[in-house]
Amino acid sequence: MNIALTEATAPAAGSRAPDFSLPSAPGARMALSELRGKPVVLVFYPADWSPVCGDQLALYNELGAEFGAFEAQLLGISVDGVWCHAAYAKARNLHFPLLSDFEPKGEIAGLYGVYRRGDGCAERALFVIDSEGIIRWSHVVPIAVNPGADGILAALESLPRRPA
């Protein structure tokens, strides 16, 4: 595991979040730029079905109201394909989109500096992007560690409030 290297190459807080357009369901795509105007919580994770990922996404799945209070859009991203994501989201009753960084494999994880080349999957990494598309907080954790949600909520709280 080369966490230090990954941290060093992840875009720093204050820099523009690399845009992407990825499949969000069979026949549908979602672009980061479409979400301008509200904060985005980007959750890179290694794989659908793996035990820690399940616990981590299950935890975020319970926090719809809390993320909603910030009008934040939660997005999961892994290298799994759309049909795998669809089956996984259905089995776990997930209420937020899972994006497929499938072809070219891991390209978006690479843009965010969180692709594990040797393993062919993303790191477990969190990015909080503000409503203007600027990365305000990021956190990369060892792959077996569930980072919880306290850091995300604290980052959302520290975003400047948009004028009403």
Binding site: D55, A58, L59, N61, E62, L63, R92, V145, G148, D150
Partner: protein, 175 residues
């Protein structure tokens, strides 16, 4: 990670408030790891006797555990009638039957006022209490259940009597 919401009179605590050692658990009655940890906690309580105070807070993952929130609220509803711990233990011990019928049956067996119990569940009287526990867990950095806090710090280690007892007493066990 530290406990963000201090233990107070709203918490369910077993043992003396001035016991020298406190163990707090965030648990979910439908979580298999919490069910597995229940006998460990019982053993620890028996082993440590009056030195230990045990506090239980709710962290139900309702989207994956369809009966977990209701079970948490049933424990609270029993608690409102002075029988929290009996309901807590029974829900863990009879996890294979977890569901509304079990809760109703347990309320009868614990000789609760069953009308009041049913009203408390149908009106979701304790939903906010359970939610407060849950959000307190999130804010305290809890990634999943069961999560134990020893001396207000998130315990990271094996969930067995010996390891938990050593952590409570400030000892380090070397693997």
């Amino acid at each position: 990670m530290s406990l963000k919401i201090p233990i107070d009179q709203h918490d369910h605590a077993l043992g003396a408030p001035d016991a020298p050692l406190t163990l707090l658990e965030f648990g979910d009655f439908e979580c298999s790891y919490c069910i597995a940890a229940h006998p460990t906690v019982q053993g620890l309580i028996a082993r440590m006797g009056e030195r230990l105070r045990f506090v239980f807070r709710h962290m139900p993952l309702g989207e994956v555990h369809p009966h977990a929130e209701l079970a948490a609220e049933a424990a609270e509803a029993a608690g409102a009638q002075g029988r929290f711990w009996e309901m807590h233990d029974a829900l863990f011990e009879r996890h294979a039957e977890l569901g509304p019928e079990l809760m109703t049956m347990l309320a009868r067996r614990l000789q609760l006022d069953t009308t009041r119990f049913a009203d408390d569940l149908s009106s979701r009287r304790f939903r906010d209490h359970v939610k407060r526990d849950f959000l307190g867990a999130i804010r305290s950095g809890v990634p999943g259940t069961p999560a134990f806090f020893v001396a207000n710090e998130l315990y990271v280690g094996s969930i067995d009597e010996q390891s938990l007892s050593a952590a409570l007493q400030g000892l380090r066990l070397h693997a």
